[in-house]
């Protein structure tokens, strides 16, 4: 094989390999959606985070605006301290609420932020005051049963 032909084939191999990497990064991975870009972080304390995991999406009105970056246990208040990283372009008023929601019946859990009406916006490192915990199915069922039992009692006494 001649020198130039060999170089051509090796060049083709390298180009194909790099192209495969680029395809993996952009078409398969999420490089294009939430890769670079300026971000800021917010904190939120939840009584119960359910099955929330780091890297879960943060959504507002169904649009992904950031990611959960860290989950810690706050030993002073016995709550979960969740750190959210939000796109710089997205700003929320100071009275916005954060809730842990589930996509679909069995889907993954995410943090939903509902915008408020305050004139002032969150700054980097701020704490979201108004939070709503994840729904724990056992608590919900037991509450329902106690309610039923409480409703049923007066009738049986009559």
């Amino acid at each position: 094989m001649q020198r130039s032909m060999l170089d051509l084939w090796v060049g083709l191999f390298v180009i194909a390999g790099l192209a495969a990497l680029v395809v993996l990064a952009f078409k398969v991975g999420n490089m294009s959606s939430t890769g670079a870009g300026e971000t800021y972080s917010l904190q939120a304390n939840f009584d119960n985070i359910g099955g929330l995991k780091p890297r879960a999406p943060v959504k507002s009105a169904g649009v992904v605006v950031g990611r959960v970056t860290r989950i810690e246990f706050n030993n002073d208040r016995f709550t979960a301290k969740v750190t959210l990283t939000i796109n710089k372009a997205v700003q929320f008023p100071k009275d916005s609420t954060a809730a842990i929601l589930t996509s679909g019946l069995l889907g993954e859990q995410y943090v939903g932020i509902d915008g408020g009406g305050d004139g002032e916006m969150f700054k980097a490192g701020d704490n979201i005051r108004l939070t709503q915990s994840a729904v724990v199915l056992e608590k919900l069922i037991s509450q329902f049963m106690f309610d039923k039992a409480a409703q049923g009692q007066p009738n049986t006494q009559k």
Binding site: F13, V14, G17, V28, G29, R55
Partner: protein, 264 residues
């Protein structure tokens, strides 16, 4: 009786000592290769020639097996997922298993048997026909001229081959899942994109394949360099290359996986 026992114990001990000795020699060989690498890094045409033999010639087998592995993954994954009505995550299943595990591992196993065995046989035969000794006579260091370019070519081509394998596998999964079975195309790609992380999944896969490339080429080059200069010796060394490097890839994969993906 006691004599036989003691002789079998000493035979076992000799085997262990021999193994440790070979490992030490192999480590010295590796360090020597790294030290002699400046010559071939100054003359990239040497590496390009080896890239042709290890990389370009391995491309066909990698692409074809990647396609079929992806197709089988989609077929089998669909059968299980459709029971739970969640066939829309088929893309996630195919992409994550290929990018994290199957791409680097199967590409490395194919690389070991396709390129590693050829390296061992070539260097072993060079040694048996005294070409390496002739080089030394001409004051050309065979490690710098023969071994180091092959090492760098293996290290460079392995991640590219693994990426080709994964990309081809995902394409195969797309053909079977979307085109033949009829999973929704939009959810196939969008779920895949939201689940596969560039740093956590793809970069870790690339790191894995680089580690496998180093391990395979090291084993292959050492077995060739250390082979007894006979026809039997070269064939035995070639077999040992494929067996040892396949086991090394699988073992290293377990160790790397337990470091990289600890379930968040």
């Amino acid at each position: 009786m006691l004599h036989r026992l003691s002789s079998s114990v000493s035979a076992l001990g000799a085997q262990v000592i021999d193994m440790v000795l070979r490992l030490g020699y192999a480590t010295r060989f590796m360090l020597l290769t790294l030290r002699q690498s400046t010559t071939c890094l100054m003359r990239p045409s040497l590496i390009v020639r080896e890239l042709y033999y290890t990389g370009t010639l391995s491309m066909v087998i990698i692409l074809v097996s990647g396609l079929f592995v992806g197709m089988v993954l989609a077929l089998q994954g669909y059968q299980t997922l459709v029971t739970y009505g969640s066939e829309s995550v088929l893309g996630v299943l195919v992409a994550l298993s290929l990018v994290r595990e199957l791409g680097p591992v199967i590409a490395a196993l194919l690389f070991a048997s396709r390129a590693g065995s050829a390296m061992t046989a070539e260097i072993g035969l060079m040694k048996a026909t005294e070409q390496l000794a002739a080089m030394e006579m001409m004051a050309v260091d065979p490690i710098a001229r023969v071994v180091a370019p092959r090492f760098w070519a293996g290290l460079l081509s392995m991640p590219l081959l693994a990426a080709l394998f994964s990309a081809m596998g995902i394409f195969g999964g797309y053909i079977v899942g979307v085109v033949l079975i009829g999973v929704d195309e939009g959810s196939f790609w969008s779920q895949m994109q939201s689940a596969v992380d560039v740093r956590e999944d793809i970069l870790n896969g690339v790191i894995k394949s680089v580690v496998f490339g180093i391990a395979i080429t090291w084993i292959a080059l050492f077995e060739g360099y250390d082979a007894p200069p006979t026809a039997e010796g070269v064939s035995g060394a070639t077999t040992r290359t494929v067996v040892t490097s396949s086991l090394a890839v699988l073992g290293l994969d377990f160790i790397l996986t337990s470091f990289m993906f600890r379930g968040v």
